[in-house]
Subunit: 512 residues, 2 copies
Amino acid sequence: MKNALGIELPEFIDGYGEVVPFQGERKNPTLKPKTQVKESVVLPGDNKVLNSIDEALNKIELKDGITISFHHHLRNGDYILNMVMEKIVARGIKDITIAASSIFPVHEPLVKYIRDGIVTGIIASYISGPVAESISNGELKKPAIMQTHGGRGRAIESGDIKIDVAFVAAPTVDTYGNINGVSGNAACGALGYAVADCQYADTVIAITDNLVPYPACPIEIDQTYIDYIVNVECIGNPAGIVSGTTQITKDPIGLKIAKMASKVMKVSGLVKDGMSFQTGAGGISLAVAKELENIMITEGIKGSFASGGITGYIVEMLEQGLFQGLMDVQCFDLKAVESYRKNLTHQGMSASMYGNPHNKGAVVNNLDIVILGATEIDTDFNVNVTTGSDGVIMGGSGGHSDTAAGAKLTVIVSNLIKARLPVIKDRVTTATTPGESIDVLVTERGIAINPRRVDLLEKLKETNLPVMTIDELKELAENMTGKPRKIECEDKVVAVVEYRDGTVIDLVKKVK
Amino acid sequence: MKNALGIELPEFIDGYGEVVPFQGERKNPTLKPKTQVKESVVLPGDNKVLNSIDEALNKIELKDGITISFHHHLRNGDYILNMVMEKIVARGIKDITIAASSIFPVHEPLVKYIRDGIVTGIIASYISGPVAESISNGELKKPAIMQTHGGRGRAIESGDIKIDVAFVAAPTVDTYGNINGVSGNAACGALGYAVADCQYADTVIAITDNLVPYPACPIEIDQTYIDYIVNVECIGNPAGIVSGTTQITKDPIGLKIAKMASKVMKVSGLVKDGMSFQTGAGGISLAVAKELENIMITEGIKGSFASGGITGYIVEMLEQGLFQGLMDVQCFDLKAVESYRKNLTHQGMSASMYGNPHNKGAVVNNLDIVILGATEIDTDFNVNVTTGSDGVIMGGSGGHSDTAAGAKLTVIVSNLIKARLPVIKDRVTTATTPGESIDVLVTERGIAINPRRVDLLEKLKETNLPVMTIDELKELAENMTGKPRKIECEDKVVAVVEYRDGTVIDLVKKVK
């Protein structure tokens, strides 16, 4: 069978199960009730604080085939996943599925467990580094499942992912399990990706290096979700957790793209009072934020909110009154953490509130403009942020598909040529976000508008911006680089790429 | 069959169902998973704001036998329940169950609906005024179900109460459903009793008189739980919502009781660094808080937290650094609302987090001392706060049983004689909180210690406090008032009193 992007899919994939093909951004064929959650009784006087991870593992029924979860707010500074896995593996447990919101290079020790058949499943929204390469090499027994941030929230809430034990990296936790990310050595700010894990896992173990007296205020994740608390020496390396500062690109081409993107935003008519905005932490994305800031100040525009992973640049916009509030699932730098700690209008949100298509309206639904990147984009505007042009996994949707689906204007900013390859392909190596969600591609050489957006095309034609078709833009690039050769893959499915609603938008095959 | 208090119960009650008898404070025989929740899809561009309650009712499947819920943060100033009921009744809907966290005199219009057989069921944690009298007179078709605050959270989460539509009084709400209680004409502070309703109802309708642009920060109840928003002229009368100020008793007997209670607390050894405390908003309860404040200041004691409905007196203790944080389910006065708005350590909590025995540990579990009232207490220390000595419903547990079960020291403060009747009975008219949860009764004439608390009795014997047995204290009272006559009831069960775990602790019969 084929999905809505015309991608051929089997009806069943070993190690994954039945395939529901992607049917379109707003079709949601998989809607079902939220799953039941195990209830517990913790009596007055019961003690939740344990002395070691081993003591916590003694409390739970560890068995082969278990699914354990982690969240990625400590990013490439995370010590928790490796620490826990070492202890679990030492107990001889096999056939483990890791449901981590993201996996980073620091999690390299997983590769050995994958090769040894100890870790057989991985579910994540973003995977980079050695684990991604191992998966692409076909070393993981079951296909990895790549989700979106909102899709992961949905999957946990619906029971598509059944978490046996969630391990929560807690920068600060009190003796009864109230967690926040605003204090402690590993302070990382908002903890949005851990919320569903805590709400739905059978057992939740908070691991901290900052155990404080009850009650730890402000509470981000509360005591009613936490079974046990373990205090360890150190949960993460601050250098890898948040950037000291995030930086606007200094590359003139990047700055040019940002300027062009800001003009497109302006022309769209969405830059006005009450506007909402999201951009990433990359150099070009931040440069777009800076351009927007200038426009808003010059024109006296007061926005509604900015969302997403939050950076210091966005905080500055809040503090200047350019936005009424920030909706934050994850802080990208120290300034964002500090703002989240002190600004009442800097609001935390769960991944589900951020982007789950199956609740009563996620934050992305209210986005006017989102600025996103792309590894590849094809002439149908489908975007790949999952694999490199060599077919190897190097990322994943994160919030890409969620925000693109929600925003009124989704702008992809990219150099036209990256690492000597055109960013525009006939067909993306892997479809992460469907073309119907993408409105504009802005490159330094030209701007392509999705033909669905006739309205926007009309508006842009009245400007002197270099608007062309995406095919023209592709040709422009190929004239410089030559036509890139098609990568070759084997038949083995190494990863299933789920759209935010849980349907399958693409498959990643083993690289040759 | 008999429950653990020796109260005879039928195995089945018409209009209620199977009876699980109360088996003891910590037995929890009814533990089960949290129920499934209906999922929805709200697409970008969908509008949640409707023009009237009628328009909202048009969106839902109103049918006979429906269960609708309300929360009581607007207390006796609430306009919502009557407003909604008028519209629903106008549509000819019958056999309605009202699941309101509490019902106040202002809800008198319900009496007519009860008599007309339109409202046939009531589930609440506290009922006072005409509705309570109507129930006691046997006018409601099904027995009312009286729960605790934590028990209501548990019942909604477990599916024991299935809410079809929740109507949420929203002092402030934005256009996508983010609610807070800190702003607006009806600002009432924490919204803890509405949380489970929003999380578990099939449909949630927020009714406000302060609709604000998105996003309303701080968010107490978020957009992912709200289906529709209706803006009306006025949701409540501020005079009935929160007291301008709550007042310490000026009655010398009350002050004497408070002083004695504070001495008991001191002797217990629990008044020390890290202590936690809860008291009510009544005059004697506040006087106890004032006594505690003096002790803490004099002795340089820094407490952990105070919880419950929060008053300005408790806020003053927070702001003096006597507590590290406040855990607040409901603000009782304007000073508490103001503090909840501005103090980061003044933390909101849901009713479930407050007192649900079936989560991973409620706040009450960490209470050291709670000060509570009693309409009656019997020689087994069982307490009645549900019915008057005439057998008529005039209240309910609220958080009484929850806090009493959790706290290390539960102190009942009461005048020995109230309205010419001794507060101590051979047997309470209605058992609300079991004697095993009660440690001490403090009256102006003497202090009785629950014989289970041998440790406390030993400590108090070393003081000059007037300690006696509860039988001696009862005799003292009866010597003054004479032996009160026993009230007579008919066989008809008008209310089932559920303990916090959902077992049946007592029945209220129709008064003769």
